[in-house]
């Protein structure tokens, strides 16, 4: 479709969002990611039955943990769409970028730089 979406996104493909583990989400932030979002199939349409539901639960767990430790639970989000919805994919990319730009960079990056200095 050649739609435009921000270049701040790095796409990591998985066969089903059910493959995404909560540790993947947390480690991304540990390593300095400003935000992580998981894009899965519409609920009820997972070809592996419940993969996207499991992913949602894990995203919610990660949100609670990140909120409790002061990084910000809103930095991790789950979106659902059908694989034919190209424009929506671009829209979610823009929405997430806007949200993260508003929240600012991952506080751990600044903390690490201060330590290195």
């Amino acid at each position: 479709m050649r739609l435009q979406y921000p270049d701040t996104i790095r796409v990591i493909r998985v066969p089903c969002t059910g493959k995404v583990d909560i540790l993947h989400l947390l480690r991304a932030f540990e390593k300095g990611a400003d935000g992580v979002y998981v894009v899965g199939c519409m609920e009820g349409d997972c070809r592996f039955n419940q993969g996207n539901l499991r992913a949602r639960k894990r995203v919610e767990q990660a949100q609670a943990i990140l909120e409790a430790i002061g990084i910000g639970g809103d930095r991790v989000q789950m979106y659902n769409l059908s694989s034919g919805e190209g424009p929506k994919f671009a829209e979610y990319a823009r929405e997430m970028t806007e949200r993260i730009e508003k929240m600012g960079p991952n506080p751990l990056k600044a903390a690490r730089q201060k330590k290195a200095a």
């Binding site: 909560i22 506080p107 751990l108």
Partner: protein
């Protein structure tokens, strides 16, 4: 199995905030099954705590280990060679494991990371319920395999109380009346005459009420 639940991370942070080098120790048995203290939970907790301390600008070393069990000498010995590099150990095994580790490593603070709840079963993913109270005198043979000590709110031994309504306990409409379950089961097993038998007064000396307990097997002791 022993069912435990994760402690809120705020409480854990309060416990460990003054240490500079922490070992998080999980257990591969019961707490893994109830998703509170296994290898995955060790990883999650370690990642969360690392980020918390990094955010505060505090340099804290956090290492991870998952032992097979924390209730046997052999498995706890596995960390003897490197436990000295840590100020404290955060054990997310059940209360048994935390205490045994504390006895073994007498000079090291051993902190709990889960709340140990009861002996129970996995009814479905994410739902665990109590089945046994470890009273030391099992009577399941005469109650069709359903325990009135753990599942009856009043621990009655000779039938339901007047509060049993539509098969539910009067304390909570979601709790089954143990005696309804027992009678239904005895009916199914064709052993309703067991229900008529009077159970004598229970010897509670083997229950926790009699003090901390011990089992000694002379036939096994070397």
């Amino acid at each position: 199995m022993i069912v435990a639940d994760k402690k809120p991370i705020e409480e854990i942070i309060e416990e460990v905030k003054d240490y500079n080098s922490i070992l998080i120790a999980g257990c591969n048995e019961c707490v893994t099954v109830c998703e509170a203290g296994g290898k995955k939970e060790v990883g999650i907790l370690a990642s969360a705590l690392r980020m918390y301390f990094m955010n505060l600008g505090k340099d804290v070393k956090i290492d991870e280990v998952t032992l097979e069990r924390q209730c046997d000498h052999e498995y706890l010995e596995e960390i003897r060679n490197n436990i000295d590099q840590y100020d404290a150990v955060l054990s997310i095994a059940c209360g048994v494991g935390v205490q045994f580790m504390a006895e073994k490593y007498f000079d090291k603070p051993i902190l709990p990371g889960v709340n140990t709840c009861f002996l129970g079963v996995t009814e479905e993913r994410g739902v665990w319920t109590e089945r046994c109270q470890a009273c030391g005198q099992c009577i399941l043979a005469s109650t069709g395999g359903i325990c009135p000590v753990s599942r009856c709110a009043k621990r009655l031994f000779n039938g339901p109380c007047g509060g049993s309504t539509k098969g539910k306990c009067e304390i909570n409409s979601e709790v089954d009346c143990a005696w309804q379950l027992i009678v239904d089961r005895l009916k199914e097993l064709d052993k309703l005459e067991d229900y008529e038998k009077l159970t004598p007064i229970k010897d509670w000396s083997t229950d926790r009420a009699g003090g901390p307990r011990k089992v000694v097997r002379e036939d096994v002791k070397l």
